[in-house]
Amino acid sequence: MGNRYLKRLATLLLSLFIVSLLAFTLIELSPGGAMARYLENPKISQADRARIALRFGLDKPAPVRYLIWLRNTVQGDLGISLMTGRPVLTEILERLPATLKLMTFSFIISLFAAIAIGIYSATHRHSLGDNLAAACSFLFLSLPSFWFGLLMIYLFAIRLDWLPAGGMITPWFDPDKYPLPTRPFVIFWEHTRYLLMPATVLSLSNIGSWSRYMRSSMLDVVSQNYIRTARANGVPERKIVYKHALRNALTPLVTLVGLNLPSFFAGAVVTEQIFAWPGMGRLFISAAGNRDYQVLMGITIITAVLVLLGNLLADFLYAFLDPRIKCEG
């Protein structure tokens, strides 16, 4: 069994290598390459450009630069941001928690909602609830998240003023004037109310697809022979659904969720932009706009690492849920 995970680890490292190579090559191939940022500004003279190139090591040929980057990255040094001059790693780490917060919240919402809806739809097949859920799933899948986000902002923030329109947390400027809140609920709400809208927007399309999948998986499982045996043994219906069927129905969902992980990051990019959420997505966009390739490479590699780790986790979970896999590996 250890063999299997070693193989996975090797594949993971290979994937990271290829991803970084791909990103690097694409940037190199573009007009201007790594220096693109500076080429367009007419105010920068040739001498300045040469100086900058020397400073950032951009005068070396591309393959050498890539290897240097690789070596540095493995040691944890992701380079210096061309925009701000600060280490890339610092920039990213400052924003990583925010993104993770948003994504985790959204992930939990998606998962629970999808499982609940899926179970309900499967057990009340063809009922009004089921058809409604199906229609909604379809809608959610087609929804442009940025538009929906704007709509929500308009409704909840502008018209109704229930939720804040952006940002992650209210800055408390003057601790003398405004005593910091101590009641746990207030603290909780303070943190949560900024999360609600972005997390909802981020989860919608996933709820749409996951719940359909959960439904079909449950229906599939419920028609299996072992469910019939459980019924024949007198196990009450509720237990059959939540204990016997669910366990088996979750395994395909785990695979799907693992495959969908990259889309979470993609969604986060857009959502963070709309809601001014100070996370990696926003950093990515501003880096792209400024053609700060160091930051871009950094974010790409870190995202890839996260996604691949997530897949590994999903793999573990799958083996845990389905003992047949455990023994095969």
């Binding site: 299996q224 007198g234 009450p236 366990r247």
Partner: protein, 330 residues
């Protein structure tokens, strides 16, 4: 009939099970009467599609309700009318008073739970044991079905066991709560011949030691010959012959039964071709008029084409065939 009425465990009268399909209504079971006495093995013999599995599922009330419909004049277990029970009450009966085992033990066991968990769940549910007691009872149950090293087996998953072992586990689960009736739906069909023999022996043992009555559903004459005491032969949804196993093999009455026995390959006599019953099983959506077997019957008369025969008594057996009617103009 030899047995005393007081010994009757299960009584079915006029059981009918219908399925509404896209192409029409299928009468899987079309009015059958069965009785099972305590501690006896009743064999239900018939080809695929004749309604024998449907009968068992109907007794357990496991027929899915939207397409299926079960109704009977009487469906009594020890005097309790099963049709009147609520779903909750019925689930207490299942696994407890009546158990069922199925054909394919691999797909019939939940792959994500260990054998022990599945057994213990059953025991805790019906007998109210706590985990510890249930654990020991589970080991007991596995011992009864002669699984070696029972304690170790409890933590195994179904796919880790061989086919024969799995079927024993299913039997253990079925008998764990000492039911009075066990419905066995083709329990040996998916197994090797040697394992078949073992399982049949086991069933016999359970019958005598734990005093469980068994309704054994099969298409295999050999299985019936091995452990059944009485046999009901089914064809296209109805019972066509009801006899003791000795009488059935010695003197089969219904032409269908005769055909089945005749088609067994003989060891002593050289045969160029095996005997077959001509024709095929009728389409359940389009049953023949009159007696269902008449298109394939070598003794078919005019009346057979027009009217379905009722069950006639003949010595100790019952037969659904006009051949055995008295005083009717044929």
């Amino acid at each position: 009939m030899v047995n005393i009425l007081a010994d009757i465990l299960l009584e079915l009268k006029n059981l009918k099970t219908k399925f509404k399909t896209y192409n029409g209504e299928v009468k899987a079971v079309d009015g059958i009467d069965l009785t099972v006495h305590k501690k006896e093995v009743l064999g239900i013999l018939g080809e695929s599609g004749c309604g024998k599995s449907a009968t068992a599922l109907s007794i357990m009330r496991l027929i899915p309700s939207p397409p299926g419909e079960v109704c009977a004049d009487k469906m009594e277990l020890r005097g309790v009318e099963l049709q009147f029970l609520t779903e909750k009450q019925m689930s207490k009966v299942r696994g407890n008073e009546i158990s069922m085992i199925f054909q394919d033990p691999l797909s019939a066991l939940n792959p994500t739970f260990t054998v022990g968990e599945q057994l213990m769940e059953l025991l805790m549910l019906h007998q109210g044991f706590d985990r510890n007691t249930a654990y020991h009872k589970a080991i007991e149950a596995l011992n009864i079905v002669q699984i070696p090293a029972a304690a170790n087996r409890l933590s195994d998953y179904p796919h880790q066991l061989s086919g024969g072992m799995r079927q024993r586990v299913m039997l253990a689960m079925a008998c764990a709560c000492s039911p009075s009736l066990l419905l066995a739906d083709e329990p040996t069909t998916a197994l090797d011949v040697t394992v078949q023999a073992q399982i049949l022996d086991l069933l016999s043992q359970l019958q005598s030691e734990m005093e469980i009555a068994i309704m054994l559903i099969t298409h295999d004459l050999g299985v019936v010959a091995e452990i059944a005491q009485r046999v009901a032969v089914m064809y296209a949804g109805v019972v066509v012959e009801n006899a003791t196993v000795q009488n059935l093999f010695a003197k089969p009455l219904h032409p269908y039964t005769q055909g089945l026995l005749a088609s067994l390959p003989l060891l002593e006599v050289e045969q160029e071709r095996l005997n077959v019953i001509p024709g095929g099983v009728p389409n359940m959506l389009d049953l023949p008029s009159g007696c269902r077997f008449h298109p394939r019957c070598p003794h078919c008369w005019q009346i057979c084409r027009l009217q379905e025969p009722p069950l006639f008594s003949q010595n100790e057996s019952e037969v659904r065939c006009w051949l055995f009617a008295q005083g009717i103009d044929k």
